[in-house]
């Protein structure tokens, strides 16, 4: 649809990140919505300012400077709506990820059912689960009360029981929650989100409404085996906003500028991925990845069904030490193509956590950061995959078909070479079948997710305007063979009629040189019953592909990637792969 035929509305999307506040201006250019410009400034949500507006103001000043459009007025702040002489903007949305994670205690009936779901719900925003309570944890009511008063969480999430299921066990836990909340100062009482057995809602209201900040949402598990996170996720996002409003000044002003269109960055990322999944191929999902300084976010959606995971304290800046502490030095070292002493790696990671804005000056240091990014992403992917809508193996470790996979975060967008960004996504996620890896170079995803709520057409048109950099089409067969065994025959047809044929061997990484943007047709014939996502093991098929920054990458290294117990062998193999990439970048 041509936007000149409709009443065009401009929009500013502000993202308040851990270190950087970014403002994006979208408006109509050449009949379509486009990104017009971007401004950045240091975030001022934390000490010493504790007021987000200064960072927003400065980023908007930079945006004004770059676009030449007046957006700010000393008297009124952000000029909304836009004036006839094209000053200001028609709307504004804001997203935020800055701030320490919200401390959460989760409460459920049983460890392996309701607590698992509660954990999944808590992981849809920036939370730190400090304790878990269930009926089979052997705690007495006294223990629970002492635990809750000691932890003093920002939020208690209570789930459990299918609708019309058992009530007594949950009621006994609710009593402890109520008592612990009652004895706290009113200002310190936690938010309580109840998303359990709907039969208990009235009793929950009667018991907890007056003594806590109670939020009730529909049961996340209304029937055994059936889950519905969306309403509770929405409520959790509201709680996130309230907690942040208490922690950082200026959010009241932001809410007024945005008329309430303020959400967590993760939630906005989830929304845009869900949105895209409704637009793209129905048989495949869409995935978004954000590897930030403090946090890694994964969002996947299949035909509008979204799965969102936020991993605080897991990133390449302030969260780098968290990656090391949660996994291990050995796991991080597996990704390195060069030998670096253990002490140097460990010290570098802790220094990076202390100085998250600093850039790596040496090649070794960059390799450590790329390895941290891969490990953070691998940990996240292994946690996410089992809960995705579609599964392709019983073990839940293989990534189901998703296309495209869009990556964001400075480690990806500012990597000196495109192969480095691609290899982080490829090694961390280990996609299967045929997919496309793309890069959100300007950090538009959260803003577009927030805008989708007020102007979906703008989101669609901006995304269609070559917003994302195509890193490459990936072909990743699944199966097991001896290294060196031919497992896939590829015939690549160019538009001018030329073609090439390649036999791909197991264990190899091959790049088919296809120019950026060049359209090609691929005939894929798997051998030895390898599966390339064409309908089952051994099934052949044709796909149209477009060359990315790295052309077309055939990743026949196996799924999941296997490592040698010997560190030296891993280094040698990683160096072979790096040379393969370098040859084509």
């Amino acid at each position: 649809m041509d936007t000149t035929n409709i009443t065009a509305k401009s929009a500013i999307a502000v993202d308040i990140g851990t270190t950087i506040t970014r403002s994006l201006l979208f408006d109509v250019a050449s009949g379509k919505y486009r990104l017009i410009g971007m401004g950045t400034a240091p975030t001022t949500a934390g000490a010493p300012k504790f007021d987000v507006t200064e960072g927003i103001w400065r980023s908007l000043e930079e945006l004004q400077y770059f676009t030449g459009r007046t957006l700010l007025s000393e008297k009124d702040g952000v000029i909304i709506p836009s004036t006839q002489d094209n000053q200001g903007t028609d709307s504004m949305v804001a997203t935020m990820s800055a701030g320490n994670p919200i401390s959460v205690v989760i409460v459920g009936l049983l460890d392996d059912v309701s607590l698992k779901n509660t954990r999944r719900l808590a992981q849809t925003t920036y939370t730190n689960i400090t304790a878990e309570i269930s009926i089979n944890d052997c705690r007495t009511a006294t223990d629970r009360i002492n635990l809750l008063t000691r932890e003093r969480p920002d939020l208690i999430i209570i789930t459990g029981g299918t609708d019309n299921g058992a009530t007594q066990s949950l009621l006994s836990i609710l009593e402890s929650v109520g008592l612990s909340s009652y004895i706290l100062d009113e200002s310190q009482r936690p938010h309580i989100l109840y998303a359990g057995n709907e039969k208990l809602q009235d009793e929950v209201k009667a018991g907890l409404d007056k003594i806590s900040k109670l939020h009730i949402s529909p049961n996340i598990q209304p029937l055994l085996g059936i889950t519905n996170f969306r309403p509770a996720q929405k409520e959790l996002n509201e709680i996130y906003k309230e907690v942040r409003r208490k922690q950082s000044g200026g959010l009241h002003e932001v809410l007024s500028w945005t008329e309430g269109s303020f959400t967590s960055t993760a939630s906005a990322l989830g929304r845009v991925i869900r949105f895209l999944s409704e637009k793209y191929e129905p048989e495949k999902g869409v995935m978004g990845v954000d590897i930030g300084s403090d946090t890694t976010i994964l969002a996947a959606a299949f035909q509008g069904e979204e799965t969102l995971r936020v991993y605080p304290n897991s990133g390449v800046g302030g969260g780098a030490a968290g990656v090391l502490e949660r996994s291990s030095l050995e796991e991080i070292k597996r990704w390195l193509p060069i030998k670096i002493p253990d002490t140097l790696i460990r010290n570098y990671i802790y220094n990076k956590s202390a100085f998250p804005d600093a850039v790596p000056t040496e090649e070794d240091h960059l390799e450590i950061e790329l390895a941290i990014a891969k490990q953070a992403l691998r940990d996240a992917a292994l946690d996410l995959i089992p809960s995705l809508e579609k599964q392709i193996d019983s073990t839940g470790i293989l990534m189901p078909a998703v296309e495209p996979i869009i990556g964001a975060g400075r480690i990806l967008t500012e990597a000196p070479k495109r192969y480095q960004s691609l290899s982080v996504l490829l090694d961390g996620l280990q996609p299967t079948g045929v997919t496309t890896l793309a890069l959100d170079q300007n950090g538009l995803l959260p803003g577009l997710g927030a805008i989708a709520e007020i102007n979906p057409l703008m989101t669609v048109q901006v995304i269609e305007s070559n917003t994302f950099l195509n890193l490459g089409t990936i072909i990743a067969p699944i199966g097991i063979a001896r290294p060196g065994t031919p497992i896939l025959r590829i015939r690549l047809y160019r538009e001018d009629g030329r073609s090439i044929t390649r036999d791909i061997k197991f264990g190899s990484l091959t790049i088919l040189p296809v120019e950026m943007g060049e359209k090609v047709s691929l005939h894929l014939r798997p051998l030895h019953r390898f599966d390339i996502g064409m309908g089952g093991p051994g099934k052949s098929g044709k796909v149209n592909a477009i060359g990315g920054a790295l052309g077309i990458v055939v990743d026949a290294r196996g799924r999941p990637l296997q490592f040698f117990p010997d560190e030296e062998k891993n280094i040698q193999r990683n160096e072979v792969w790096r040379k393969t990439y370098r040859k084509y970048s």
Binding site: A47, L344, R346, Y350, V359, T361, E362
Partner: protein, 352 residues
């Protein structure tokens, strides 16, 4: 470009909020002079409760149990005091399991708060109380030297500062530690030997300030009984010259070492405060400033980390670093007139 200002000051105004997260009794008053060990506020930071099922204890219904309650919320009890009862032929009663108070009572149950020693929050520095935060704590102000670090093991102390050697550039080894350091806060260049922490704990010293430390020692440092603060980070970096000169100049003085856990979002930095008697009234130090030609800076990352220099020029064009990253850099003159190009993101300002 705006960047952080390192808080290394020979003389500055220092203002700190010392508060507890829960309500308590504030024991100081406005304009009171406080010493580091003075208690500012006391509160039951980790109160302990016992939920007593009175109805079950008396073997009656909850409503009947409520009728048999002898105590009201807030009532102080000693161990063995009767809470509810008597009832029945055997005159069953429910007694206080420990000294404490009834917090809530009803529906056949009593939530009983056990008497526990209250947490005492100390001033942690010498100074004057300039404001009271009702029920939470106070704001203390002083003038003196300030050195902030980037890692602390969460402990706090006060004592005499004793540099281990005449400069703070060398590695601290166990042989340097002797009984002469007992009860003092020692400072040194860097540490990578676990035996240093063990020996220091055996002497025992009161605190430790290091330029850097091997990250492999973090678990040991966290479990040490004394505060440990790192100024420059992890590795084998000598202490930066700016912090070193302040600590050397204040040898044998009483210092407050607050090795609190580093939380840049909340503005919590481990730090050393050395109060000085002075009539001058310096401004509070800035926390951010713009990188400009002539500014004194410290390098925070890379091979030259912890080196100090002066910005000669901020280059207009981006440079490609050995890592391949393209970024804005400044040419920085280090001591000895060596000129190096450093990414702007890897610099923090030192005020002079």
């Amino acid at each position: 470009m705006i960047t952080k200002v390192k808080q290394y000051h020979e003389l500055t105004s220092i203002k700190r909020e010392r508060v507890l997260p829960v309500a308590g009794d504030v024991l100081v008053r406005r304009m009171q002079k406080v010493a580091p060990n003075d208690v500012i506020v006391v509160a039951p930071l980790a109160p302990e409760f016992i939920l007593i099922d009175i109805a079950q204890g008396l073997r009656v219904s909850p409503s009947k149990a409520d009728e048999l309650l002898q105590r009201q919320a807030g009532e102080e009890l000693v161990k063995g005091d009767i809470i509810a009862g008597p009832v029945g032929i055997f005159k069953r009663v429910v007694r206080a399991p420990q000294a404490g108070r009834v917090k809530i009572a009803g529906e056949g149950k009593v939530l009983f708060e056990v008497d526990a020693p209250a947490y005492e929050l100390q001033a942690g520095m010498e100074g004057t109380v300039t404001n009271i935060i009702p029920e939470r704590g106070a704001i203390i102000e002083t003038r003196g030297a300030l050195v902030q670090g980037i890692w602390g093991n969460g402990k706090i102390t006060y004592g005499i500062l004793q540099p281990v050697s005449s400069d703070l550039l060398q590695e601290l080894v166990p042989e340097q530690l002797n009984i002469g350091f007992r009860g003092t806060i020692i400072s040194a260049g860097f540490c990578r030997n676990p035996n240093v922490l063990e020996t220091a704990g055996n002497i025992p010293i009161r605190g430790m300030i290091l330029g850097s430390m091997s990250s492999a020692l973090i678990p040991l440092a966290k479990s040490a009984d004394f505060p440990i603060m790192l100024i420059d980070g992890f590795g084998n970096k000598p202490m930066n010259r700016a912090a070193e000169s302040i600590l050397i100049a204040n040898k044998d003085k009483n210092i407050a070492l607050n090795a609190q856990v580093y939380d840049p979002f909340q503005g919590n930095y481990p730090e050393v405060i050395i109060t000085q008697l002075t009539k001058s009234d310096p401004d509070l130090p800035p926390t951010t400033d713009s990188l400009k030609t002539g500014k004194k800076v410290i390098i925070v990352n890379g091979l030259l980390a912890s080196r100090i220099g002066k910005i000669e020029e901020i280059l207009p064009q981006k440079r490609i670093l050995p890592s391949g990253i393209s970024t804005r850099v400044a040419s920085v003159i280090l001591s000895g007139e060596e000129v190096v190009e450093i990414p702007l993101t890897n610099l923090e300002i030192i005020t002079e």
